[in-house]
Symmetry: C2
Subunit: 430 residues, 2 copies
């Protein structure tokens, strides 16, 4: 067990999970790293289903989720089953029983958020839901904490991985919507009935909640204009490209100075100069614009067992820190890390390199450079002799495979001793 | 005064500012939006300097910063002067006097963070410093809160706006380092003595603190390998481009399974497929990779009066919320926003449009489409008739200027009534 936190917890926090599917498993596995957290009960549909989860004590399982929300020992309930019923009643009952809530349920928040937050208020409980919007991307907590000084008036977001995957594939392959959808279904990126994703319902749930907390006014899901991607043609992709754009399914929200909101989900041509144009495949991204911050963009994985678990666990830890450390304000924001890191010297590191050489005599020089590199265990990924100048010198550009820094510096010295000039040695991202 | 927060504060929080330069002014102006915060004292170098700051009561000014840190009424001190001395002693004295600290001082944190955080621990105070790294980008608070469930083992970041501006300009214009530096100095993006930026010192300060809190081991500033951008040539930019890369000054950190860290600042070729390659001019970006989240990238403005103020104010509000609401856990994470937003219907919105038309008869069709658009107050930004097919139809691609949705839908109807087929109508990002 690793105690990643650096503040002393006064008590163990008991967590109940409702659901042990993809997300639930990721949450369970991640919580095991924190020895002040105990997962003390888990509601599943079928207790006897074989589950390959290391460290799972089967006696914690129950097939009655009310066993979790009615357990007087439990501090925090994480609802990870999705859908409206029975999730709504389970969360409400849990709050009435004094539990704080963590949920990834975007549909429930969009459709019944108002009632849920009223109940939370009445019973002085918190509902956290970082995982419900844009998976692993830090979004809700930053908006509500470090960005709290801002009046954010514009959101543009890619929050549905399935449609972004389809649009990216259509763009890259020049393929039709129908063909790419079929492929996405085979790969598990799209469901057998893809309606919720491709018609924009999923994105609409997410922008409903995101714009509500960002604009601090309730945005009703039924008032959001929604258009899916089913009519996008590969010809449109190509035409957009020629004009300097990519086509993305954008969930957007704006609010004007009079508090009038314009919230929608529809395909959009986005300029290749914008960050969103480069968000490809299942990646999600959210751009926020406001004052005083200006424009920021947060991007990362929008779904999946572990990214979603990151957000669910982050929410659980935030509540746990507050419940377990009554003497402190902002316990998570403390800095201790007293131990100095053991550091690798640059000479011991392994890197790829870009090297630009001006070679005195073009004849046979590539062979010599190749030999020097080989003698130093440096493999070359590419070598280009671009132009021979009037003075009988040649400009040679080399990209290496991963090599040792000390060996590379030695090779540079030998190449220069051979009468050449190494103009640049720049490391390459691996 | 707007109360942007939605939780009841029991008391007014008193804030003292040290410094009223660019950042200090932005902080002062932003804090005025919060009626439960009172800026009660401000230390400046020259009390009599003319300052054009609305709402500034000159009686709050003092030229002795110890008046701020010794004021028994003040709850939070924001240190915004930078440098080691007297900032170190001021912060230390303030903590000993019971104040919490917000600072934007990257050099001080990198060089004396260990002592400062020990003092904070001893006196049970918090030091928050979101503004010290990557300006307005939410970074420190997300790492320490919502990402707390992760073991992050890799950081790649563009955290110096000056060098990123210079490298972007070199790339776009094909200009030399020297020429672009001169231009950047004239525009105020680079200082008269640019050493701190162009030799990577500023980025090293930032990655020292960022890697320390991310890896939870202290990274000593003097052990960070550092290389600046002064030797990058325009030829390297061009060669990198041809090979599918951009050159960026990257502050990076890695930590291996044995806790050995590799932290550096140097130029790097980054693949055009990566998000960092598209972070241009003074924008900053930080990519974090770990488990369970995977890879996320946070980007936005890295400096400037207002972006920096966003982070300083966010930190001040986080401390204030805890000091002012003793009955609550996580007061900032509560959701209320009971009021429904007034919503704009899609038919009333203004948008740019991409329209793809298959025209029955190519003869004169562009003129007719132009007339229909003009009759509906729709200006055209571009119109391209790409190819005429064998069946005597033409494919026409139109991009409009900003137009009314209802008018656009009407134009589509009229274009179709004229015997053409509108295959696609997609909105364009404005």
């Amino acid at each position: 067990m690793i105690l990643w936190y650096d503040f002393p917890m006064k008590k163990k926090i008991k967590v109940g999970l409702i659901g042990l599917g993809t997300v639930g498993s990721g949450v369970f596995k991640t919580l095991r790293n924190f020895d002040y957290i105990e997962v003390s009960k888990i509601a599943v549909r079928d207790i006897n289903k074989p589950r390959n989860i290391e460290g799972l004590d089967k006696s914690l399982l129950t097939d009655n989720p009310y066993d979790v929300v009615n357990d007087p020992e439990i501090d925090i309930v994480a609802e990870l089953i999705g859908g409206l019923d029975p999730a709504y009643d389970l969360i409400t009952t849990a709050m009435k029983n004094g539990k704080h809530i963590v949920t990834a349920n975007k549909e429930l928040l969009a459709k019944r958020g108002e009632e849920l937050f009223s109940t939370a208020d009445e019973y002085n409980r918190v509902i956290l839901y970082e995982a419900a919007i844009a998976g692993g991307i830090p979004l809700i907590m930053p908006i509500k904490t470090i960005l709290a000084g801002n009046k954010i008036n514009k959101i543009e977001a890619i929050v549905n991985g399935t449609t972004n995957y389809i649009l990216t594939k259509m763009d890259v392959q020049g393929a039709s919507y129908e063909d790419v959808l079929k492929e996405a279904q085979q790969l598990g990126y799209a469901e057998a009935d893809p309606t919720g994703d491709v018609e924009g319902f999923d994105a609409a749930y997410k922008i409903a909640t995101l714009s509500t907390i960002t604009f601090k006014k309730r945005i009703k899901i039924e008032k959001i204009y929604r258009e899916g991607i089913t009519k996008i043609r590969s010809q449109d992709m190509k035409a957009a490209n020629d004009l300097g754009y990519k086509i993305k399914l954008i969930a957007s929200g704006k609010i004007d100075e009079n508090g009038k909101a314009d919230v929608r989900v529809h395909p959009m041509l986005v300029s290749k100069k914008s960050t969103l144009a480069h968000i490809d495949y299942v990646t999600n991204a959210v751009s926020l614009t406001g004052h005083p911050v200006g424009s920021i963009t947060l991007s990362g994985p929008g779904a999946g067992e572990f990214p979603t678990a990151s957000s669910v666990v982050g929410d659980i830890l935030a509540i746990s820190a507050e419940l377990g450390t009554s003497d402190y304000i902002l316990p998570m924001m403390r800095c201790r890390h007293a131990e100095n890191a053991d550091m690798t010297d640059i000479s011991e590191t392994e890197n790829k390199y870009y090297m630009s050489i001006n070679a005195k005599n073009a004849m046979g020089v590539i062979g010599k450079i190749g030999n020097i590199c080989a003698d130093n265990n440096i493999s070359l990924a590419s070598i280009v002799q671009k132009c021979v100048s009037d003075d009988n010198t040649a400009d040679i550009t080399v990209i290496t495979e991963i090599a040792n820094e000390k060996a590379m510096q030695n090779a540079v010295k030998l190449i220069e001793q051979d009468g050449n000039k190494v103009n640049s040695l720049i490391r390459v991202q691996v």
